[in-house]
């Protein structure tokens, strides 16, 4: 229970606090006049009281209340510091020691304990408080809630006109309205007459007001409570709407119910409420439990595919039946897996709704006007992905406001609307979620980017780069085009960090930009980080998994399609373009693999950016859903592999990191090189001489280690 967990801390803290109080009181007694000392005693007593109230230690609350009041009066000068008073406080502190020690042993203290001191403290407080109102007694929370009981559904009409400055206290009308919605059906009309032309509207002021009709069981106090923090910062009218005549007598009667009847009614109402909440359509579950479920289902999927593999070899009449049953099991397994994943899925709305505040703050600071539109708020994505998305997305939005969208003055000059448009959208596309941040600002200034890149030695001045390559320079570590460090997007974390965060989740980021028209940053992320669809391929005695999302087709190459452009680099003509061949046996040092491409297969793979690679394998074994096991947690990162998985027979297979593999060798101008090569050699070479220089024995040892590591982790 919460109580036990914290009581221990509370008592420990009390001991410290009492020591502090004693030290301070002793210093005071020896003649020090430091006002901070009284304050220290006050704080000690005050915090002991706070905890005591939380644990319902009434005797301590009562005692500290009077103690604290006297101290408070002494603190603000209403009571003089005298020797006698300090003595009294010291004795009061001793009583408090005893009270706390008793409470710690769960014993009731003698009710008469410290009575004399208590009376002296009360008298002292009365002296100090003369002419002042006695300090208000602590409010018991929930008391107000109990004072009124629901009287069936009623219809209220509300007018809510926030004062202009309400936003400055961090009160957000949207959330207030949302809180009202939790009480019942809400009809809302916004009054926008007060809103000045957009370029005159200070973003930090609220110029809207609302008329609402609320149908609710909740009593008036509960409605008013929602406006508790803003009642003096708005014009608020809450009134019962005309009640149909038939309802009147009933309601009168209920209002006339004898007060004595109330406790019972309240209890009934409570029970009713509880019953209703049990019947409601959602429950709160600890995330750890869901994660545990996801892991277990993952293990079951592996076990199930192992079983299926063994069963497949069965023959005879019985075998067919078993196979049929396991296939059924397999279908259910996948449904179960989808359902469990769906539990972890959350709407992206929770991230998007943070953005208006960020936009308001950033645009306020920069003097820019921004209008935000969002699409696809209901798109669902795994909770972990969602959590890891907040920071990158915040950064991208700030970046768009800071560097993308121009100031209203600049926009006016070029004939754009004074307000900048920012669009956030999310959608599902082939098993991934695509999130885009689009602005109608000035676009990426490629010249400036290039200049900066040269200055920062990231690029040679004469480099001939495509627009896209220049755009992508934004994601290079250390790159920043902003001329000065701004408060909004700042420096230190740049787009390179955004990219790293996204890539770590198996996502990609790309940017498109038209100078003068705006930019669009697109994120493509996996829907879940736990499973993926993969194509299992064989390379010698090893197997690898290629993410299905990255594969286009597999080709049985003929030697005529293949050109060799340098000792270890071959290209294949596929779909009208030359694609570099990456033989997997070479990358991972597999020694017993097929080395003649004509005997094997190449799988045409594509990264999200559209870069292609022809991955050479021995054969394609099939497609299956695989459970992703992190290499970093279980072993160490392996170049060319993004993760590992356990296949049906219990063997570990590496999951190929297609973009990583594309980046494994520098890009070269293939067409020119091919043409040159053709002219020189005019002939076709067969790869195979280019077996990896890496020691194959070391490679195999590494993979054995990986298997045992993974087993250890599973066990």
């Amino acid at each position: 229970m919460m109580e036990d967990r914290f009581k221990q801390t509370y008592f420990e803290e009390c001991e410290d606090r009492l020591l502090e109080a004693e030290e301070a009181l002793n210093s005071l007694q020896s003649g020090s006049e430091d006002p901070e000392l009284i304050d220290m005693v006050f704080r000690a007593v005050h915090s002991i009281k706070g905890g005591a109230a939380a644990f319902a230690l009434e005797q301590i609350v009562d005692f500290t209340h009077h103690f604290e009041t006297s101290l408070d009066y002494m603190r603000d000068g209403r009571l003089d510091v005298t020797r006698e008073r300090i003595d009294l406080f010291l004795r009061a502190k001793d009583i408090l020691d005893t009270l706390i020690a008793d409470a710690k042993e769960s014993e009731k203290s003698d009710p008469g304990l410290g009575r004399g001191i208590l009376e002296a403290l009360a008298a002292l407080a009365a002296t100090g408080g003369e002419g002042n109102d006695a300090p208000a007694a602590d409010k018991t929370p929930g008391q107000e809630d109990l004072l009124s009981s629901p009287e069936g559904e009623r219809t209220w009409s509300l007018v809510f006109r926030p004062h202009q400055d309400m936003l400055k206290t961090g009160n957000e009308p949207l959330f207030i309205i949302r809180a009202l919605k939790t009480l019942g059906a809400l009809q809302l009309t916004a009054e926008t007459d007060e809103i000045p032309p957009f370029d005159e509207l200070p973003p930090s002021q609220c110029r809207m007001s609302w008329r609402m009709v609320l149908k609710t069981m909740a009593p008036e106090e509960e409605i008013r409570e929602i406006f508790e923090f803003v009642e003096d910062m708005c014009e608020l009218k809450i009134a019962l709407q005309d009640v149909p005549p038939g309802d009147m007598p009933e309601r009168r009667r209920s209002q006339a119910v004898d007060k004595q009847d109330r406790p019972n009614r309240r209890k009934e109402d409570r029970e009713l409420k509880d019953a209703m909440s049990t019947g409601s359509s959602s429950i709160r579950v600890e995330l750890g439990r869901i994660d545990n479920m996801v892991n277990l289902v993952g293990e079951m999927v592996i076990a199930q595919s192992m079983l299926q593999e063994k069963v497949r070899r069965l023959t005879g009449e019985g075998g067919a039946e078993v196979i049929k049953s396991t296939e059924q099991l397999s279908r259910h397994m996948h449904d179960l897996q989808d359902s469990v994943m769906a539990v972890r899925a959350q709407k992206i709305k929770s991230v998007f709704t943070r953005m208006p505040r960020i936009i308001r703050e950033a645009s306020d600071m920069l003097g820019k006007d921004i209008r935000l539109t969002t699409f696809g708020e209901d798109t669902e994505v795994d909770k972990t992905v969602l959590e890891n998305l907040v920071d990158p997305l915040t950064h991208m939005v700030r970046n768009a406001i800071d560097h993308g969208i121009e100031t209203p003055e600049d926009r006016e000059k070029i004939g754009k609307p004074l307000y900048g448009m920012l669009q956030l959208s999310a959608r599902h596309k082939s098993g991934r979620i695509i999130i885009e941040v689009e602005d109608d600002g000035k676009g990426i200034d490629r010249e400036a980017v290039m200049k900066k890149a040269v200055e920062q030695d990231l690029e040679k001045p004469d480099a001939n780069l495509s627009d896209n390559e220049i755009n992508n320079m934004l994601f290079r570590p250390g790159f920043s085009t902003s001329k000065e460090v701004t408060e909004v997007s700042g420096r230190g974390v740049g787009m390179d960090v955004v990219k790293r965060n996204i890539t770590n989740m198996g996502g990609r980021i790309s940017v498109q930009s038209t100078p003068g028209k705006g930019s669009r940053f697109s994120l493509s992320l996996p829907l879940t980080l736990a499973v993926m669809d993969g194509m299992v391929v064989a390379v010698g005695s090893q197997r690898f998994v290629l993410p299905t999302i990255n594969t286009i087709e597999s080709i049985q190459p003929s030697l005529d399609d293949i050109s060799t452009i340098s000792a270890n680099c071959n290209v294949i003509k596929a779909r009208g373009e030359y694609v570099r061949i990456m033989p997997l046996f070479d990358v991972f040092g597999v020694t017993d693999a097929i080395t003649n491409p004509e005997e094997g297969l190449v799988v045409l793979a594509e990264s999200d950016e559209g870069d292609r690679l022809a991955i050479m394998v021995d054969e394609v074994l099939g497609q299956q859903q695989v459970v992703i096991k992190s290499l970093e947690t279980n072993y160490e990162s392996v170049p060319g592999a993004s993760a590992a998985t356990i296949l049906g027979d219990g063997e570990v297979a590496l999951i190929i990191d297609v973009p990583g593999m594309i980046a494994m060798e520098p890009n070269i101008d293939l067409k020119t090189l091919v043409a040159q090569n053709r002219a020189k050699a005019g002939a076709v070479e067969i790869p195979g001489s280019g077996i990896s220089e890496e020691n194959p024995a070391r490679q195999n040892a590494r993979e054995d280690e990986l298997v045992s590591q993974a087993e250890k982790n599973d066990g």
Partner: protein
């Protein structure tokens, strides 16, 4: 996506209880021991809600609220003050400093959560 909330209190008991309640409700929680500590934390962390005690050494709650409102990125972040008394003077002082609202100690966990939802929407 849970909101990130910082609870500022010089009392460890109070800090632990608030953060326990918040964590149970699924929020991310940061803590600070006084106003100065909170400012240090807030300089490097993004938070969605600040919950602060008023009586604290070094920098008290009212001073902290003023400091928060002076920070460019926190101008409109919801700030809730924890008060033991239903003390109108303190509430007024807090509101003048820019506080969003208040929570009366000892707090009722449900009430704490509903207040957070009312000021931060989640």
């Amino acid at each position: 996506m849970p909101l990130k909330i910082i609870t500022v209190d010089d009392s460890k008991t109070m800090r632990d209880m608030v953060s326990f309640t918040l964590k149970e409700a699924g929020y991310d929680v940061l803590t600070a021991e006084d106003g100065k500590d909170a400012v240090r934390v807030l300089e490097v962390n993004r938070v969605d809600v600040v919950i602060t005690d008023l009586n604290m050494p070094n920098m008290n709650g009212i001073e902290l609220i003023r400091a928060i409102r002076a920070m460019p990125t926190l101008k409109t972040v919801p700030v809730l003050m924890l008060t033991t008394e239903a003390d109108e003077a303190k509430k007024t002082a807090g509101k003048e400093a820019g506080a969003t609202g208040w929570i009366v100690k000892p707090f009722n966990p449900e009430k704490l959560i509903s207040v957070i939802q009312r000021v931060a929407g989640g």
